[in-house]
């Protein structure tokens, strides 16, 4: 069964460093998303991506964040200068088309720890 995969499963970085989180969405999906979950808190939307551009972004997704689809299979989230408060589980998701009509599938997550 197709699934969303994410690497690495756990990333430890020092404050101020850049990190890139990687995702391989389900192959025939067209919408891609990043969410995060700070320990003990709600899952929060960061950004959605469709047709090689950002479709929607939240207030959390500031200039420190960027997304890219560098090739036909990968979808990445870059944090330019990490802060302690960026420590969270980051989830990638994908759907066939807009989530209003199509099922949105999540990856297993990358746990980011900023020290």
């Amino acid at each position: 069964e197709p699934e969303v995969t994410q690497t690495p499963s756990h990333q430890v970085t020092q404050m101020g460093q850049e990190v890139i989180l990687r995702c391989v969405p389900i192959s025939n999906h067209l919408y891609f998303y990043w969410y995060r979950q700070i320990l003990g808190q709600k899952v929060e939307f960061l950004v959605s991506f469709y047709n090689n551009e950002i479709s929607e972004k939240s207030e959390i997704f500031d200039d420190q964040f960027s997304v890219e689809r560098p090739d036909g299979s990968n979808f990445t989230l870059k944090i330019r200068s990490t802060k302690l408060e960026d420590s969270a589980m980051y989830f990638c998701a994908s759907s066939g088309l807009a989530a209003i009509s199509y099922e949105q599938y999540f990856g297993p997550g990358t746990r980011l720890t900023v020290t």
Binding site: Y31, K42, V43, F45, I100, Q104, F106, G109
Partner: protein, 111 residues
């Protein structure tokens, strides 16, 4: 912005018992998702509802979206230890390009 309230926040039931989890939205629901999450892991898709009055079932789990499309319920029949986890409801915005999540319901099933 849309807010989703889940109740109860946590639930402990004896194996074999039925249970219901509710998700109430501050705005009309365009698409309502139910996911299951085990601690520290990813979200597993359960069901998606769109139409008022819609009901879907998967194995022993049934989800409904009320007619006014502002509330959904998730019902588990004859609960098993494998049902334990955190159940999350998520609502799509009208453009369908983001989900807003509720705070989750933590379910424990005692054997």
């Amino acid at each position: 912005s849309q807010e989703l309230e889940q109740s109860p926040q946590s639930l402990i039931v004896q194996e074999g018992k039925n249970l219901t989890i509710n998700c109430t939205s501050s705005k009309t629901l365009y698409g309502l998702y139910w996911y299951k999450q085990k601690y520290g892991e990813g979200l597993i898709f359960l069901m998606m509802l769109q139409k008022g009055g819609e009901e879907k079932s998967h194995e022993k789990i049934t989800a409904k979206l009320d007619e006014k499309k502002q509330q959904s319920s998730l019902h588990i029949t004859a609960s098993q230890p494998s049902h334990a986890g955190i159940y999350l409801c998520g609502a799509a915005n009208n453009a369908g390009n983001m989900l807003t999540f509720g705070g989750g319901t933590r379910l424990m099933v005692k054997p």
